[in-house]
């Protein structure tokens, strides 16, 4: 059993020519039973209409593969009323499993708080795009990119929230992120991204505990699975990472 806690559905990436059928086929070949995906808008301050359109792409994928693809509802927290309505539409109405925040605001900015309170009320996780980027391009292009520090601060304000720090392998300084969230038990970490640094998964498990580490690919399929297979974990730890932890989070949902 494997649950990918962080992927994207077809047409989420600019220029990507694969389909949801390709995604599910890749999952089949890697033994991934469930894909939790989203369609975030990665640049600028998207309007409520654009956000709605993006979430419709995720809903379409969920409709194509209802047993295989689950969705996160992407929102731009800058639009309080519209984004709250979008959450209601996608989570209450369409059965999405959580909230996806991208780089429109830092995770610890007050504009995010009402949505965290709503996620607590509904018992759904918030997956936050994150990295402690060390390169100029990323810093320039994503000036409000959250890292472990921002997420840890949000988690301390809302200890009942379930927060997932996105893609430890997404390219930032992952050692920074581990240290930042180490002592904040309501922050989970997903393993996705293209970076497959040897020892990364073991260090995450050692520092956070296996219960807080969630397998993900971010559509880096072989790398995502390969690094969990390669990590020196016990069978029990590997099962926790591959699926048990995410299954537990999904079971916490009240809606």
């Amino acid at each position: 059993m494997r649950i990918d806690c962080h992927c994207h559905v077809a047409r989420s990436f600019e220029g990507a020519d694969w389909t949801n059928s390709d995604l599910v086929e890749a999952a089949d070949r890697l033994g991934i039973n469930l894909l939790c995906g989203s369609t975030p808008i990665t640049h600028g301050m998207p309007t409520p209409d654009a956000v709605r359109e993006a979430n419709n792409v995720t809903l379409e994928a969920m409709g194509e593969y209802p047993d295989r693809i689950y969705g996160y509802c992407f929102i731009n927290p800058g639009y309080l009323k519209a984004s709250m309505e979008e959450l209601e539409r996608c989570i209450l109405g369409e059965g999405m499993i959580g909230v996806k925040l991208y780089n429109q605001y830092f995770a610890n900015e007050p504009v995010v708080f009402p949505f965290v309170e709503k996620s607590i009320e509904w018992g759904v996780p918030i997956l936050i795009h994150a990295a402690h980027a060390m390169d100029e391009d990323t810093r320039r292009n994503q000036p409000r990119l959250s890292d472990g520090f921002h997420i840890a601060e949000l988690a301390r304000i809302y200890p009942e929230a379930t927060l997932i720090e996105g893609h430890i392998g997404g390219g930032g300084d992952w050692e920074w992120s581990l240290k930042a969230i180490r002592r904040v038990p309501n922050v989970y970490l997903d393993t996705s991204g293209s970076v497959v640094d040897e020892g990364m998964i073991e260090k995450a498990v050692n520092m956070l505990g296996a219960q807080r580490v969630l397998f993900g690919t971010d559509c880096v399929m072989e790398g995502g699975v390969g690094k969990i297979l390669g990590a020196e974990l016990t069978d029990v730890e590997r099962e926790l990472v591959f699926w048990r932890n995410m299954k537990r989070l999904l079971e916490l949902r009240k809606v």
Binding site: D22, M134, D173
Partner: protein, 254 residues
């Protein structure tokens, strides 16, 4: 048989590596079934006199002649590099070279690099070019700030047809001039390519032929399992897989 084109030993100053001794590397190779590995010295990247790292590498791998294929790191911008090259290849038995233009602060258009490549061609040793060592997005603040681009490397490969180049840690070949570069003087190492979803390995096989690809992992910087998983998932005949696992690289090592 599996030959890994892309391994290292030595101290990386910006992150603690496990398995970065020769014993550690061999242990990882045993774990994942890699028979032989091309290996360079990380220390050579950082020592001013990178030959010292080559000497260390030669001593370290001495006990594993059947497992480790040492490649010398040569810096053409440093004095007496010809002596280093000759010593490494003729005395130490190094089977190829690695160059690090960004770390050693010279451009691919530098005439001194041209001289080195001519010497390498005369000695009939292949040249490995790591386009990057680690992801620049997670760079240490004292590390290099960029990755070599495929276009600049393509220019070099075209300009020196007598050399054999092995390109490590690259991605996106299918979107560059490499997609149409049929010449047989280069190989692409697969550790960052894909079989599923974006399918860059099958696409390169289709456009360039399997003869251009070589297996590599990036150990001990990277887990070896993702690269092995790609090969396992690649839908290709035994002949193609063997070519990628070792034959294409062995051709350059002869």
């Amino acid at each position: 048989m599996i030959i890994d084109a892309n391994t290292y030993i030595g101290h990386w100053p910006f992150r603690r590596l496990r398995y970065n001794t020769v014993e550690g590397l061999v242990k990882l190779m045993d774990r994942c079934g890699v028979d032989k590995a091309v290996c360079g010295s990380i220390n050579s990247v950082f020592y001013k006199d990178c030959q010292e790292g080559n000497e260390e590498l030669a001593e370290d791998v001495d006990e594993y002649p059947e497992r480790i294929i040492p490649f010398a790191t040569v810096n053409p911008a440093y004095v007496a590099w010809r002596e280093d090259l000759e010593r490494s290849v003729k005395d130490l038995g190094m089977k190829g070279l690695r160059i690090y233009p960004l770390y050693h602060n010279y451009s691919l258009a530098d005439p001194r690099l041209g001289e080195l490549l001519k010497e390498a061609a005369a000695l009939r040793v292949p040249v490995e070019i790591p386009l990057r060592i680690v992801d620049v997005r997670q760079r240490h603040w004292m590390d290099v700030t960029r990755t070599l681009t495929l276009d600049e490397v393509a220019g070099l490969v075209k300009a020196y047809p007598e050399n054999h180049f092995i390109l490590l840690n690259g991605i996106g070949y299918e979107k560059t001039q490499f997609a149409e570069m049929k010449q047989n003087n280069y190989r692409i190492e697969i550790s960052r390519l894909t079989v599923l979803l974006t399918k860059t390995i099958p696409r390169l096989i289709e456009t360039l032929g399997a003869s251009k690809l070589v297996f590599g992992t990036g150990m001990p910087f990277s887990y070896p399992e993702p690269a092995l998983l790609k090969m396992e998932l690649l839908e290709a005949g035994l002949e193609v897989k063997e070519a990628i696992y070792w034959r294409n690289l062995a051709e350059f090592l002869q």
